[in-house]
């Protein structure tokens, strides 16, 4: 299973071909395969218990989110609080360097004055630039579209943060405490929303979606399988006009917004 090769083979083949042209031929191919395998092992390893339940991630699924900004309340932060509690990324009171895996963004249309509020997190792109630029393959994509960082081989170069159009990633600027067993973190590495992979792999939904639905009762977030035409999210998406952030970049995010 090589999570990095599941999507849009044409563009990836083009980039890999460019690498080969640059003089990196045999070694490139061999290492690429081994890197993909390492990434995949890291992903399933992080959720070892899940493997026994659902098996490895496959491209049969494409996990995604639908966020309705019309239902999202500007003053509500339940999704952020839930994520922080679930994943254990409490800050140190230093907003510039504290991590934020998910944030609430408030928007005001410059021409009409209309306002929106919505959460922004890793958009789990089909063509993730963070994965393309990562020198070690630590930034990787599972077969089911979830984009993760393998904390064991991240060297902390932050190139993925430079490459992400959504500012979705954070660098761990200081010692971490209160880590969760299912979510290893480390000073000097990069991290971001995992789409609660530890929950998804055992049939659950992300903590942010759960909080929005059950705690805030706003129902502004929906999680599901974009590949399954019978899933609730697919049915909703087929009925509504939705927006992908920076759609012009052609990254095909797995997070879609309604009401923008």
């Amino acid at each position: 299973m090589s999570g990095t090769t599941q999507f849009t083979p044409t563009r990836r083949a083009l980039l890999t071909g460019a690498g080969a042209l640059a003089g990196v031929t045999l070694a490139a191919g061999v290492t690429l395969i081994s890197t993909g395998a390492t990434g995949a092992t890291g992903a399933t390893g992080a959720t070892g218990a899940a493997k026994a339940v659902t098996g490895p991630a496959t491209s049969k699924n494409r996990w995604g989110l639908l966020i309705d900004s019309n239902k999202c309340d500007a003053g509500c932060e339940e999704c952020v609080i839930a994520c922080r509690t679930e994943q254990g990324w409490q800050g140190h009171g230093r907003p510039e360097t504290d991590p934020q895996w998910i944030r609430k963004v408030n928007l005001k249309d410059k021409q009409t004055g209309a306002t929106h509020s919505l959460p922004v997190m890793c958009q789990h792109c089909e063509n993730p630039p963070c994965v393309d630029v990562c020198p070690t393959g630590a930034s990787m994509q599972r077969a089911d579209g979830i984009v993760l960082v393998d904390k064991h081989i991240c060297i902390g170069c932050r190139y993925c943060m430079m490459a992400c159009p959504y500012k979705a990633r954070s660098f761990v600027h200081e010692d971490v405490t209160g880590q969760k067993q299912y979510m290893p973190r480390g000073k000097g590495t990069v991290e971001s929303c995992t789409l609660c992979v530890h929950r998804v792999d055992v049939g659950g939904i992300p903590a942010c979606v759960e909080a929005c639905t059950e705690k805030a009762r706003h129902n502004a977030m929906m999680f599901g399988d974009l590949n399954d035409p019978d899933s609730d999210i697919s049915k909703e998406l087929s009925k509504r006009v939705t927006t992908r952030l920076r759609a012009d970049l052609g990254l095909a995010p797995g997070v879609l917004y309604q009401g923008l």
Binding site: V105, L107, C134, T136, Y159, K167
Partner: protein, 416 residues
């Protein structure tokens, strides 16, 4: 033209020893700064989740860009067959290696996990331009090392041209790789431009030659070795052409960006409304790093004055450093355009110009890299014969014509 003789410097003077001492102290301080940053975590630096690459990257990119450019003098000798540059070729290759070593030191020591360098050497993602660069940088040491060996070992001299050609091609690829680190960043309005790669190449020509001229002048002055007008004149003219080339590329870069409304925000920020970045761009990069050096290098009054050439070279380095600062820091200070047409606010500084003040640790780490570069050059010229004993016109200039001897001297044989 006489046979060129290379020799080591004596390196016994108090000035030389204390110079080495200062450099070693700065290098050690750089390591101390690294320890401080890594021990506490990067929150003690000026870098944040908004400005993710800070002053260490400015130092690193500047030194790495200058490294490939410093090799140009050797390339002109070996690849383009100009004999006047041959006595300079060894120092040129040495300086290139030293600049790259200093730059890489800063780059690696600013990683979040520098202890995982071995992972960067063993786990590769070949879609990453960074991974390509790991090969390009380490390969540069190998290729230029062999090139130096061909130049310095008499029996291998016949391969010098071939090795020089390989090194020349490699250095072009290397700087393409460095420029592409930014050129390939489609997400950020400040980058995402194919012109980054060729612009970095011309920047390397300029910064590298300026560094080379300064090092050459300091060593010649310090050791009392003659430095003729012929070689200085050629280097000065070449430097002027490169500086003008940088200005040209910067003009095209900004004109191209200005044409697309998508880039209007970042262009307005850098060129007009960006406060410190606008000032750095116009005063630091364009005036100090471009227009003033051009005037000094070409104005009839200052062109003949070597101290003015040295001043111009120093200004080019300062302006070049500022240019890299504006590209790296200025490019990140401008907020990412995630929601075009909207006013954006959030707890994560969306829609805001990001503040950055470099910390002392970052400055010391960067200077440590510069110190390592100078330390390598200073020690190497004492250990191995990198320098020609004379760069006087009559010794190295193939077009040298001896000035007519005075009248009485011509009559001497008749009277004898």
């Amino acid at each position: 033209m006489k046979q060129i003789i290379f020799s080591q410097i004596e390196g016994k003077s108090t000035a030389y020893i204390s110079w080495l001492g200062w450099l070693a102290a700065f290098a050690a301080a750089g390591l101390g700064a690294m320890w401080y940053m890594e021990h506490n975590g990067h929150w003690v630096t000026g870098m944040t989740n908004q400005i993710v690459w800070g002053l260490p990257h400015v130092f690193a990119v500047f030194l790495i860009v200058a490294a490939s450019g410093a090799l140009n003098v050797a390339s002109i000798s070996s690849v383009f067959g100009r004999p006047l540059y041959k006595p300079l070729a060894r120092l040129s290759a040495l300086l290139a290696l030293a600049l790259l070593a200093g730059g890489l030191m800063v780059l690696v020591l600013d990683l979040g996990r520098p202890d995982r360098l071995i992972i960067a050497m063993t786990e590769y993602n070949f879609k990453s331009i960074f991974a390509w660069n790991i090969y390009l940088y380490s390969g540069f040491f190998g290729v230029v090392g062999v090139y130096l060996w061909m130049m310095m070992e008499q029996r291998m001299n016949r391969y010098t041209r071939l090795a020089g050609l390989a090194a020349f091609i490699w250095r072009l690829a290397l700087t393409t790789g460095t420029g592409s680190i930014f050129g390939f960043l489609v997400a950020r309005q400040a980058y995402d431009a194919a012109i980054m790669a060729p612009m970095f190449i011309i920047m390397s020509f300029s910064f590298g030659l300026a560094a080379f001229i300064l090092v050459l002048m300091v060593i010649s002055n310090g050791t009392g070795r003659p430095l003729g007008d012929a070689v200085m004149g050629k280097l000065r003219n070449l430097l002027g052409v490169f500086v003008a080339g940088v200005l040209y590329f910067v003009t095209v870069q900004h004109l191209g960006a200005l044409y697309a409304p998508e880039h209007a925000g970042i262009e307005d920020f850098i060129l007009l409304s960006g406060g410190i970045y606008t000032a750095l761009f116009w005063i630091g990069q364009i005036l100090v790093g471009g227009l003033l050096p051009l005037a000094l290098l070409y104005h009839p009054v200052t062109a003949r004055d070597r101290s003015m050439t040295a001043l111009a070279a120093a200004m080019i380095l300062v302006g070049g450093f500022i240019q890299v600062y504006v590209i790296i820091i200025g490019g990140q200070a401008f907020p990412l355009l995630i929601f075009p047409g909207y006013e954006v606010t959030s707890s994560f500084f969306d829609g805001q110009v990001n503040a950055y003040t470099p910390s002392l640790a970052e400055i010391v780490l960067g200077l440590g890299g510069v110190a390592v570069t100078l330390l390598i050059v200073s020690v190497a010229v004492k250990v191995l014969p990198f320098l020609a004993t004379s760069l006087a016109d009559e010794d190295i200039d193939p077009d040298y014509v001896a000035p007519p001897e005075p009248e009485e001297a011509q009559e001497e044989p008749e009277t004898a």
